[in-house]
Symmetry: C2
Subunit: 158 residues, 2 copies
């Protein structure tokens, strides 16, 4: 009986391991997919940063800015770091990756920059909800600084 229990426990453990392996296999995307997805993420961020800038430079429209600020914040908080997984240092997504090798080496610093980007993006969405254009412009500048800082250290020119 004890023996049977042991076999049963082992079988359960093995099936759990197999299950975990299956999930991991499903969750391990190809480098091309990771690169495509990070390029798509930053294309959308750039697009929506442009939309916010156009609204702040032109006729401010709170709803337009909110939509774009929400998109930037959600993408910034979507787990971007995971898109720079080992194995995706080089290769093509929509185009050849522009990530510098440093993004895969100094992951602590890269992570800090990513967290700063997420923080300032979330703040822009909050500040815009208040509708104070001067405060929104100041927060937008804070956000843009995090883009530049990260690009300087971790992104090659296209």
């Amino acid at each position: 009986m004890k023996h049977i229990k042991k076999i049963a426990a082992t079988a359960v453990a093995l099936s759990l391991l197999a299950g975990a392996g299956l999930v991991q296999a499903q969750q391990a995307p190809k480098p091309e997919q990771l690169i495509k997805t990070r390029q798509s993420s930053f294309q959308l961020v750039a697009w929506h940063v442009g939309r916010v800038k156009a609204s702040l430079d032109g006729t401010y429209n709170k709803d337009d800015v909110q939509r774009s600020a929400n998109a930037i914040a959600a993408i910034a908080n979507s787990g971007l770091g995971g898109l720079f997984a080992p194995g995706s240092e080089s290769g093509n997504g929509w185009h050849n990756t522009t990530a510098k090798p440093e993004a895969f080496k100094d992951t602590a610093k890269f992570g800090q920059y990513g967290a700063a980007f997420a923080k300032e993006a979330s703040a822009l969405a909050s500040v815009n909800a208040g509708g104070d254009v001067a405060a929104i412009k100041a927060q937008f500048a804070n956000l843009q600084k995090t883009c530049k800082t990260c690009h300087d250290d971790f992104k090659n020119k296209e």
Copy 2:
């Protein structure tokens, strides 16, 4: 004096028109940019739908699903319709557009489908916050239906 006022008023009106034109020029992106941005939007939606599915099929992680559901909802509500502006019916973004001509013809129906997608995506983000996995799975199915319906009518196979 009246004449001078009229000239001055005309000059102001012209400069306002020129200003409006400038803003419009800044805001009118090239078809390639629109196509790139909509392809990026749907690449991210597909990516995050895959993340949600993996979590619901495997070991559910509320925070992971929330991050992805927030990204899907923010993108769905980001003004996707504007990315299908006249002039972007054909051409290359990251690749040749897969939008059917119908997307630019039956804009009322396309808009309704887009609104349904935004509604169900926002609902997924709300329902996930409650943490009831059965309810989340049901809402995820509702969301996926809106993807399929729209693809059937408005998207060519890649």
